[in-house]
Assembly symmetry: C2
Homo-oligomer: 264 residues x 2
């Protein structure tokens, strides 16, 4: 399984590449930028990039690789997208087709990789500011819901907005907005505060993905755009070839979320 | 020449389309978002979009049109990119090739239009916050300099960062940073404060474009990324076909810069 939690993002990436860290990245290396991954053929890359630009809250672009080049450079991070994530998900014609730990055999000359922001980014800053992040026992991730709010389509990509929910004490909701607004690569400020029905969520206790919510008296449900959104838009395009991270198994970058390098 | 300054962005666009407003848009319709325009063939659109994503300060993307569709929709704005700007610049193989007021004859089935943010956006908010914006008499634009700082290339596009300069009283520089940081579609916070030599600018009194600077005792030169940047990166790609706005002649959108619609 997985070795002890490493001290640095680089050490984590090296363990993942050596097959010695296969676990999720939630809750480790607090303060470092984590990134979702989408890999598509070059012929679909414009649609994916435009989809991200048109939907910046669920899909904040951190980096885009050159076609065929598996190495991504962001600040001091130099990562091999074929090996440095703990777990991947293969897609064939829009359907999941396996979850390998190494995608070297699946890399192609026309593969383009997109690193997208991840909400793991803002949970540390929320906690440090005194905003409790309540998770189900044994879980390190929030509940996730598919809404009835459409994203803005781009070319062959279209789908609903997906959101994560954190229940926040009413008196701290404004602080949670202020803090998360500082992290556009962590999906930024919430997309909705309060009534789940406004997003088409009928039953908060039954998320589409992730654990059940933990809601205490006086809490308000607060919804952030979620990085699962592009994984629902991609099947609409039904590319014969696509690879993403496996849920919860992100690329961890060297830089702290409070020191993001300029540009992508 | 130009009719009296219109009351609304829509009226301005209608005058432009009717050939009755051919003048620049700087200093009019204060508070409304203005946008730079880049039109390229679909085959170059991925490079242009990626260049913008990699260089968000000079090239903040407001909207991207569908290939061949000249109509752009942003919030309540519905604009025809062929007619609704006061003046355009044609490019052939990377060289300027005319400045028509209507590009209907030049529109193609594979034309893709990009609306990019413009620093006209943040000058109203600066003035309202008590930060003087000093322009040469008779001018409504800042001096512009080509720096020796490279932008991040994307595909066939590459070139230097271009900046605009406004001289700000030292005690108000921090306020100018705070205010402009709120407007990513106005190029956001400055890219540099102080010594022009750090950007490779040898002589502040000799800008590459625009009027001479107006600098008073106690002022600090403050530099913002400039929307001219992509016009220098595009010739590197030498597309056989490209169209931009003519300098200073922007598309004016309905929405106020303080009420930007979500997404693009």
């Amino acid at each position: 399984m997985s070795a002890g939690a490493p001290d640095t993002p680089r050490a984590l990436r090296e363990l993942a590449a050596a097959g010695r860290w296969n676990g999720p990245t939630a809750g480790i290396l607090d303060g470092h930028q984590q990134a979702n991954l989408v890999i598509v053929p070059r012929e679909l890359a414009y649609d994916v990039l435009l989809y991200c630009v048109r939907n910046p809250k669920p899909c904040p672009v951190i980096a885009v690789t050159e076609p065929g080049d598996p190495v991504v450079r962001v600040g001091t991070t130099v990562a091999d997208l074929r090996t440095d994530l703990p777990r991947y998900r293969l897609w064939r014609h829009g359907e999941p087709a396996g979850e390998p730990h190494d995608i070297t055999p699946y890399w192609r000359d026309d593969s383009v990789g997109f690193l997208l922001g991840c909400s793991h980014t803002f949970e540390g800053p929320l906690c440090r500011a005194g905003v409790p992040v309540r998770y189900a026992p044994g879980s390190a991730a929030p509940p996730v819901y598919v809404t009835d709010v459409p994203t803005r389509p781009a070319g062959r990509l279209s789908g609903p907005l997906v959101v994560s929910m954190r229940a926040i004490p009413a008196a701290l909701v404004a602080r949670a907005v202020e803090i998360t607004a500082r992290y556009p690569t962590g999906h930024g400020a919430p997309v909705h505060i309060g009534d789940p029905a406004a997003l088409g969520i009928a039953d908060l206790s039954r998320p589409d993905f992730g654990p059940s919510p933990v809601i205490e008296d006086g809490d308000v449900p607060v919804f952030w755009a979620c990085g699962v959104t592009p994984q629902l838009a991609l099947p609409a395009a039904a590319p014969e070839y696509a690879i993403t991270h496996a849920p919860g198994h992100m690329l961890v970058l060297d830089h702290l979320v409070d020191a993001a390098p300029e540009g992508q």
